[in-house]
Symmetry: C2
């Protein structure tokens, strides 16, 4: 999202003129996301002038909507007590996101200015691995004991006034903070005020463990259409919740990362236009170099190939590309199905059976035009048969390699998307050339 070109000069002149009243109106009356969007084009110092016009609570609402590099720049620029105050007021999940991007020394310098309870909370969240449920969760949630009535529960919620992210599901805890059930705010409103929370609550709570993999958590939340899902420790004690908006962001990030990995790009970790050219060169270059290395094998193989059948050489890119295209299709289908939960590792026999059948059908589909085209260039129709036979072989090999590699990667605990496309391309190219040479030698003897 780019900065709004119309409001920017206006904001800038308000900042230069010290029009605090005008700035406060902008920062208070628009949606926090809109405030961030409109002021993205300002320098960090100017953004602070804008933010300083409102309360720290409002600052904490606007701040997470800036792009991550901007958030880092803002915290680096602020003096420590100010940064500490802002972090203290932020929702714990947003705070955790930006702290993970800061230099460790800066974090240590700011932390003394954060209240002790929040400080411990920060250290707990920062210690969760990046791809675990813990890294997505917020520690702000509404909870109730079992023994009270719906009316009392609503009175308590009114007094606590939890924010809108966390008020709609209320978790019911026993004296040791074990999760025993949940009620929705809807159920509390609709119930008789004298009804007991114990009788209203749902006890079959779908929950996730703190160390559960992030993509599993997101799949669960998506499948059950929850607003939030509770996170518990090994003893079933509630430690936080993951809310729908964070799950949605995680899904978008994961899907984009998958698409990038499938195209042989290391995940950017930031948006396309924000990524520095140097980091982009590295993230693309590393895979291009690996692919170049495997491509070099094709050059070395071809340098040894007998050259007496020149027309066969002309068909080489076409034949090998057919296998590569099919292989990439199969790999992409399996990777996306694994990552959306449409299939799991246990489905491998079914997946491979399907891909064998598809390999045969697609091979036949391409073999026909392959034969017709070859008939023009080959010395005889018998010679031309090399092309359709090779296409059949290469396409079937492509679907097999493409569909099984993501499964192999998943089974050894690697991300299926991580290396599949480069691997598929590399293996299909090299094996494809070998198949081509073998069939050529066999049929043209």
């Amino acid at each position: 999202m780019t900065a709004n070109p119309i409001l920017l000069p206006e904001l800038r002149s308000m900042i230069t003129e010290g029009d605090v009243q005008g700035l406060r109106e902008v920062a208070e009356e628009l949606h926090p996301a809109t405030v961030a969007e409109f002021s993205e084009g300002l320098e960090p110092g100017e953004i602070w002038t804008l933010l300083d016009s409102v309360s720290v609570d409002r600052q904490a609402e606007i701040f997470p909507y800036y792009p991550m590099p901007e958030q880092v720049a803002l915290l680096e620029l602020a003096d420590r007590p100010k940064a500490g105050q802002l972090l203290e007021s932020m929702a714990s999940d947003n705070r955790d996101d930006v702290l993970r991007e800061l230099e460790e020394e800066l974090v240590e310098a700011i932390l003394p200015f954060v209240a002790k309870a929040e400080r411990q909370n920060i250290r707990m969240l920062l210690s969760c691995p990046e791809d675990s449920a813990g890294s997505l969760m917020t520690t702000e949630y509404a909870s109730l004991p079992t023994g009270i009535t719906a009316g009392e529960a609503i009175a308590r919620l009114r007094a606590q006034a939890p924010d809108s992210e966390s008020i709609y599901y209320i978790y019911v805890l026993d004296a040791e903070r074990h999760l025993v059930g949940f009620v929705s705010l809807r159920d509390l409103i609709v119930a008789r005020p004298t009804a007991l929370v114990r009788d209203l609550m749902e006890t079959d709570v779908i929950r996730v463990r703190l160390d559960e993999a992030r993509d599993q958590v997101v799949q669960k939340l998506a499948r059950f259409d929850f607003l939030a899902i509770p996170v518990v420790d090994a003893d079933n004690r509630l430690v936080g919740i993951i809310t729908h908006d964070d799950a949605l962001d995680a899904i978008r990030e994961d899907a984009t990362d998958d698409a990038h990995m499938i195209a042989a790009i290391a995940p950017l970790g930031e948006s396309y236009l924000e990524a520095a050219v140097t980091s982009m060169t590295w993230k693309r270059g590393v895979w291009l170099t690996i692919l170049f290395g495997t491509g070099a094998i094709t050059a070395m193989l071809l340098a040894r190939a007998p050259i007496q059948h020149a027309w066969l050489i002309a068909f080489l890119p076409l034949v090998v590309a057919s296998g590569g295209n099919c292989g990439n299709q199969s790999a992409t289908l399996v990777i996306t199905a694994l990552s959306t939960g449409d299939c799991s590792l246990a489905d491998w026999p079914r997946i491979l059976r399907r891909e064998v059948v598809l390999g045969i059908l697609l091979g036949m589909l391409l073999a026909v035009p392959g034969f017709l085209l070859a008939a023009f260039y080959a010395p005889s129709l018998t010679d031309a048969l090399v092309i359709p036979v090779t296409i059949m072989g290469v396409v079937m090999m492509g679907t097999m390699v493409g569909s099984s590699l993501p499964l192999v990667f998943r089974s050894i605990g690697l991300d299926p998307a991580l290396m599949s496309n480069p691997f598929v391309s590399a293996i299909v190219d090299v094996v494809g050339i070998l198949i081509y040479m073998a069939i050529g030698m066999l049929l043209l003897q």
Copy 2:
């Protein structure tokens, strides 16, 4: 998600034995998504036996969690009044989804058994284009007039008992149903009971129009972290809402479709394991055939190439693949950035500038190993220069073609993901061979 292999035989034997009590327990006590998941492996007739054990309202909760082909099969099997009753009880967005998949005749046969108000609602939703806001929305929402107090508002909500999807944001309408504001249930709970809704409501409501493109709507909802976003007609009258869970499903679907299109697969419209082999063959085969057609151009070009420099032929796949890989990286980056809203068409000068710089850097990166490898096979070091020079040219061309084609497609109103990869591969291959031949002829004169 595959059927649970443990519960399935148990369910089946309950069905055979006519154990209605046992079936009712399963269908009533688990989460609706879990009921659907556990019974997915049953025949449609058996699923109906399970569903018949509970009320039609509960049926309507479970039904949308079955995969789409199963939902269609269940409605085809049911007699018309039963199907009508089920549809009447379903949330309008889920109902709309399955009705769009049914044969039109079947829809017309069922509709007379749906109450008149719902029937009009169905016709209105079905008339919205598939990729518009209207196709995602539900017409169940909570609304209030401006003149009442928070306490009265809660009393009304208690009486109406809207379902949990739609109770958390309440839309404030004037006498002509124009959208004038909204309050969250949280704000009503936290407010003094005597406060007026008029004073509590947020009047700066972010809304979408009925005909707004689906991906724009989803981006808005994701950006602002809303639980729901209101949908209005051309006169700003509220017609429905789009809830977070439907937006999340839409994001997953769109991301998967994008990944598939990038890999030259027509969107499946169903999950990988559920898609019929025939439809899969078509959805992959159509693009493979197009790619084969463009690949044929490379074969025809090569058949005319002078053969006196045999070592150049050996490097052909390597050199052309370098351009293709870079092109696919650029295309994927631009497609995903466009579809997540990270960049827009207006950013094109910035995108192209970046890709020119990246093309130069990545070209240099690959030119070095290219030169080293060529030095082994070329008759002289001067001859070997053909390879790095060609790689520079092909890689720069690849980034240009890869990044600009999705932009061109978007600008003429086509889905950037739809044709970019096949087009990128085709153009880069053909132009790459031409560049290679030209540079070869120039330098080896």
